[in-house]
Amino acid sequence: MTDGDDPGGDPPPAIPVPRPRSCFLSNGAVESTQENWRGIAVDPDADRSRAEDTDPAAVARLRARSRALLRNLLHPHRRQLAVAVALLLIQNVAGMAGPYLVMLGIDRAIPPLRAGDAGPLAYIAAAFVVATVAEYTARRGFLVRSARIGQAVLLDLRRRVYRHFLRLSVTFHERYTSGRMVSRLTSDLDSIGELVGGGIDSLVLAALSILSVAAILLWLDLPLAAVTLLAFPFLFWLSRWFARTSAVAYRWTRDSIALVIVHTVESLRGIRAVQAFRREPRNQRIFTRVNDDYRRASLHAFQLIATYSPGVKLIGNVTIAVVLCYGGWRVLNGHAEVGVLAAFLLYLRRFFEPMQELSQFYNSLQSATAALEKLAGVLDEQPEVPEPARPVPLPAAESGRGAVAFRSVSFGYHPQAPILRGLDLDIPAGQTVALIGPTGAGKSTIAKLLARFHDPNTGTVSLGGVDLRDLADADLRQTLVLVTQETHLFGGTVAENIRFGRPDADDAAVAAAAKAIGADEFITALPDGYATQVHRRGSRLSAGQRQLVAFARVFLADPAVLILDEATSSLDVPTERAVQRALATILRDRTALVIAHRLSTVEIADRVVVLESGRIVEDGPPGQLVHSDGRYAALHRQWLDSLS
């Protein structure tokens, strides 16, 4: 591994995390083969949101954004915050009153007591009790309130980030990976939680006592106070050093813990492949590396605070010694009173003591800011497939809301590799179109464009005559559903998974959908029938059974336009046939785009479109195409041969 300032190494760094220029990091000599396991991402921003760039201007911008985010988060709680600070002040005053009352008692109450008068002592004791109760109440109130504010802010932030993740496009998630999303919503929020957990009181109290003590010092003895204030340039310089280095260090810890999480999530998800291919030792080596990288990142950050905090202490202690010397000398020369020096020294101690707490708070703040930056970066990410500001409503059901049109659509996942070039395709409402062609022809891309997982580079895709970019997401999804080969089952029961298609459906509707699609038989045979938990990603259901559940789901959703992308690939032939029979019934008055490698699926199509290298090469009713001497006819022959 090379340091950030090492000019060597021509391949792009495999792990583009910021490397602080520091002596702590130069000991990682790892062989290059291990370095490359992650491969080179096609997108240079693969490991971060776009707002997170390494150039100084971007860093400053993101920092400003994260501060703005913090202000925005705290804004609704400003009244409660003011109450909390007031309670804190009451607690503090009451706390100070205790020792003062004790001294008062000793000075004023003992002589009368000697004379047999217990009155003053009783008054003072009563005042003491009042102060103690006030302190107890204020402290309790403050702590409860600050916990509430802190947790409310965390809750708000967590939900905001989650909702934003849902809005971001499939492309974003593909490069960002789920592990990193988990990291942002758990680990990063945890480190912000540590700040809100115990931050406010130390900040307020420290600031308060530093200010008040500084005033007292200036009032007590100006020259001595001036000497004390000499400590400030040093404190300032030290804090600036810490601010700079720790910002970089904590950013590094956020990035490295994300890698630990990404690697763990993927290893656990692919555990069958890991074990079957004896991947464990290599995984363990990679884990050891990311784990150690996180350790070193944290160690670096901890060592910075381990230097900063005693550094502050050192400045304070040296100042005390200097004041002691200078003050004593002034008293010796008759420029100051002994009492003033004694008082000065006592207050000086209370001046530098809170600085420790403040440095601790500053540390938590730096750590939380690094996490907040990551979240601000995510929130700053613009959805590549945005919701329209002024959505256009779909035409009424009768007037062809199921009509689909592609107008000179060009699209490629990477600009240099276009997949579709000027595609034109019209599907009238109610037609079932089979899309066939070799692997990589762009069939799935058409499906994804129609489902608006991506927007075309040029041209338009429209539904019911409305450009998809002008449709409200809710309208689009209610009208059109894409079912792919990868069927995802969410945690919960089988019934809940089917109900995902229409959340307000009752149990009877769910069962009817399953029955219609032929999934009823296997579901009722499950241990708890429809109430069976599907568990982690449905690992107890076979791939075919999951496809059946997905079909019941789409049957229940009952969209006007249905896109099936290899949705029956894992079904056995009779089951597939049953599904097709059910589909034939529902597709009779719906628009459908069916992609399948098996021509058996074409059975239910009104029209066949043959795609090659992103272009339509044949288009017509299957009965007609099969007799022409084209690609479909050839495919059909090949398919018939394969059956025998």
Binding site: A46, M103, A152, D190, V318, G440, R536, S542, S642
Partner: protein, 605 residues
């Protein structure tokens, strides 16, 4: 849909709450000298910190009063020395603390990960990955925080408390005992708090795990959620879980607030008692006023250790429940592991005869077995296709061979070796599996393909990719160094399947298990892959799950799996002719349409 709750066993009860934390002590052992040093440094720093004001006081009372400049500079020098010492000691303590606590955290994390990799598929089916993940991150941080601060301050505060109380008793036995007795309510409060907080802390950690699970699941199901426009529902579901976490956290905050305010009350009230009693004693002449002042000043030193007590206990409880959760994983025995006398026969000796005799299998917790008394022999070099209806147990049967699951009855042998008596590494090197769903990792294509053979050379990789018709990988922007996006979803289904097939072929198995390996390929590519497989694997024993008649061309014989049993075995054409159930599964003709006057022929048009 609520997050499922049966992913983990409930809180472990009946043991001492600190038991799990105590059992992590082997991780502390390598750092025992460091911990001793940092404790000493911590103590010394406290001492030096107390010494500075004492010296300052001495300056005021001594040289300044006596007009002695030399003495002034000597004492000021001493104060400087103590001040330097305090800073240096704090520096040492924090520095040592960082490296040792992080070292411990990292070591535990590596061990949990290693254990997770060894635990069988059935464990991972049962546990939510978010719960496992939160143990590796959030829980370990709680332990690290306790080790680096809580433990040390607990010890330092106890020492401070004891020393101060001893000094107080020496100063005035009666008043000193009053202060000593105040430790009893402190202890009772602390104990009650610890119990209540223990439960809350566990609940919070479990909820954090649930939330992590929910987030991961959202990321996994993002396409489905988008396809149905179910973002609002997912957000609502997340809102419920995050609200539950919020409520627990607020409850924890309230507990802490109550207790720490109460804990604070104790030294304050004691101070009041001392004031009244002390004033009485002073009035009676049994105590000088100077002694009373000294007593009270000393007693004020107790306030800080007591104030910190609430937080220290809270941190300790969090570490304890975190340790419980970690032990739950580490204590799960690895069910599938090398037998003590496991054999590792050299590859050359093995022909690859795969034999199932009376094999039964039932998933843990399931009532019905998936496989019942399966008997099947695949001869060396033979290809047997496994055919069965959706959910008939075909994939489960395959997963038994590399011991992703262990049979629950009967024997599974390779060349006469029971798979349970082969070393796992040997067995899994012999067996190559291509799963139904191609599992790709977000790593380079190279890394994905060489998963089972990290030492493979360029030529071998090229050959495997060529065989699987996956040479498209060379045309990716960075060739084989291109990172495949998450789960390889930026590739098409067919591309992923071909990469997974290349991976399986590259591992040069003696036994090839293919689970519907060509389902996502078009007819043309499928034919090419089939032809290549035939050429490349003449001597490889192959068991292949097949849904389509086309792929059956690969097989020498076909086995029909029905309801967990093999009900027919033979050549494709024979079975087609004689077994109606087989014909129903694989016949190309559409079955008689049940009461539906539907399409005659291929197309409805």
């Amino acid at each position: 849909m609520p997050a499922e709750v049966d992913g983990y066993p409930g809180p472990t009860t009946g043991r001492h709450p600190l038991d799990s934390l105590w059992r992590l002590r082997p991780y502390l052992r390598p750092y025992a000298p460091e911990f001793a040093w940092l404790f000493l440094a911590g103590l010394a720093a406290v001492g030096a910190g107390i010494a500075v004001p004492l010296v300052a006081q001495r300056v005021v009372d001594g040289p300044v009063a006596r007009q002695d400049p030399a003495g002034l500079f000597r004492l000021a020098g001493l104060a400087l020395l103590f001040g330097l010492a305090e800073a240096v000691l704090i520096f040492i303590r924090r520095w040592v603390q960082s490296s040792s606590s992080l070292g411990i955290e990292t070591a535990i994390r590596a061990d949990i990960y290693a254990h997770l990799q060894r635990l069988p598929a059935s464990f991972h089916d049962r546990w939510q990955s978010g719960q496992l993940l939160s143990r590796l991150t959030t829980d370990l941080s709680a332990i690290r925080r306790f080790l680096s601060f809580g433990l040390l301050f607990l010890a330092l505060n106890l020492v401070t408390y004891t020393v101060v109380v001893a000094l107080l008793i020496r100063l005035h036995p009666v008043l000193g005992l009053v202060v000593a007795v105040s430790a009893i309510p402190l202890f009772l409060l602390a104990r009650r708090f610890a119990r209540a907080y223990h439960a809350a802390s566990r609940r919070m950690q479990d909820q954090q795990g649930d939330l992590a699970t929910l987030v991961e699941e959202t990321a996994q199901g993002l396409r489905t959620a988008k396809a149905y426009g179910r973002g609002p529902e997912l957000a609502a579901r997340f809102a419920v879980s995050s609200r539950a976490l919020h409520d627990t956290a607020v409850g924890k905050g309230r507990l802490l607030a109550d207790t720490s305010a109460r804990l604070d009350l104790v030294p304050n009230l004691t101070l009041g008692v001392v004031l009244v009693a002390g004033a009485g004693a002073a009035a009676a002449g049994t105590l000088t006023i100077g002694e009373l002042v000294a007593f009270v000043s000393l007693q004020l030193l107790l306030i800080w250790p007591v104030q910190g007590l609430g937080w220290i206990i809270a941190g300790g409880q969090e570490a304890a429940t975190a340790a419980d959760r970690i032990r739950e994983v580490l204590d799960t025995p690895v069910a599938i592991l090398d037998a003590p006398d496991a054999a590792a026969p050299p590859r050359a000796q093995l022909l690859g005869r795969l034999r199932f005799s009376g094999v039964s299998f039932r998933y843990p917790g399931a009532r019905e077995p998936v496989l019942r008394e399966v008997d099947l022999t695949v001869e060396p070099g033979e290809t047997v296709a496994l055919v069965g209806a959706t959910g008939s147990g075909k994939s489960t049967l395959l997963s038994l061979v590399p011991r992703l699951h262990d049979v629950t009855g009967g024997h599974l042998t390779i060349d006469g070796y029971d798979v349970r008596h082969l070393q796992l590494a040997t067995l899994r090197r012999l067996v190559g599996v291509a799963f139904e769903e191609p599992t790709l990792f977000s790593m380079s294509v190279w890394e994905n393909v060489t998963l089972g053979r990290p030492d493979a050379g360029d030529e071998e990789v090229r050959a495997a990719l060529t065989l699987a018709q996956a040479t498209f990988a060379y045309d990716l922007p960075w060739g084989l160094a291109t990172r495949v996006g998450e789960q390889g979803l930026s590739l098409s289904g067919g591309q992923r399947q071909r990469l997974a097939l290349a991976r399986t072929v590259l591992s040069r198995p003696a036994l090839l298990l293919l689970d519907d390996p060509l389902s996502a390929l078009d007819v043309h590519t499928e034919a090419l892959v089939e032809a290549a497989l035939r050429r490349a694997l003449p001597n490889t024993t192959t068991l292949v799950v097949v849904h389509r008649p086309a792929t059956i061309a690969l097989a020498d014989r076909v086995a029909l799996l029905e309801d967990g049993r093999i009900t027919a075995l033979g050549r494709h054409s024979d079975l087609l002719a004689t077994v109606p159930a087989y014909r129903a599964l694989l016949s190309a003709e559409p079955g008689p349409p049940a009461g539906d006057p539907a399409p005659n022929g291929l197309v409805r048009s």
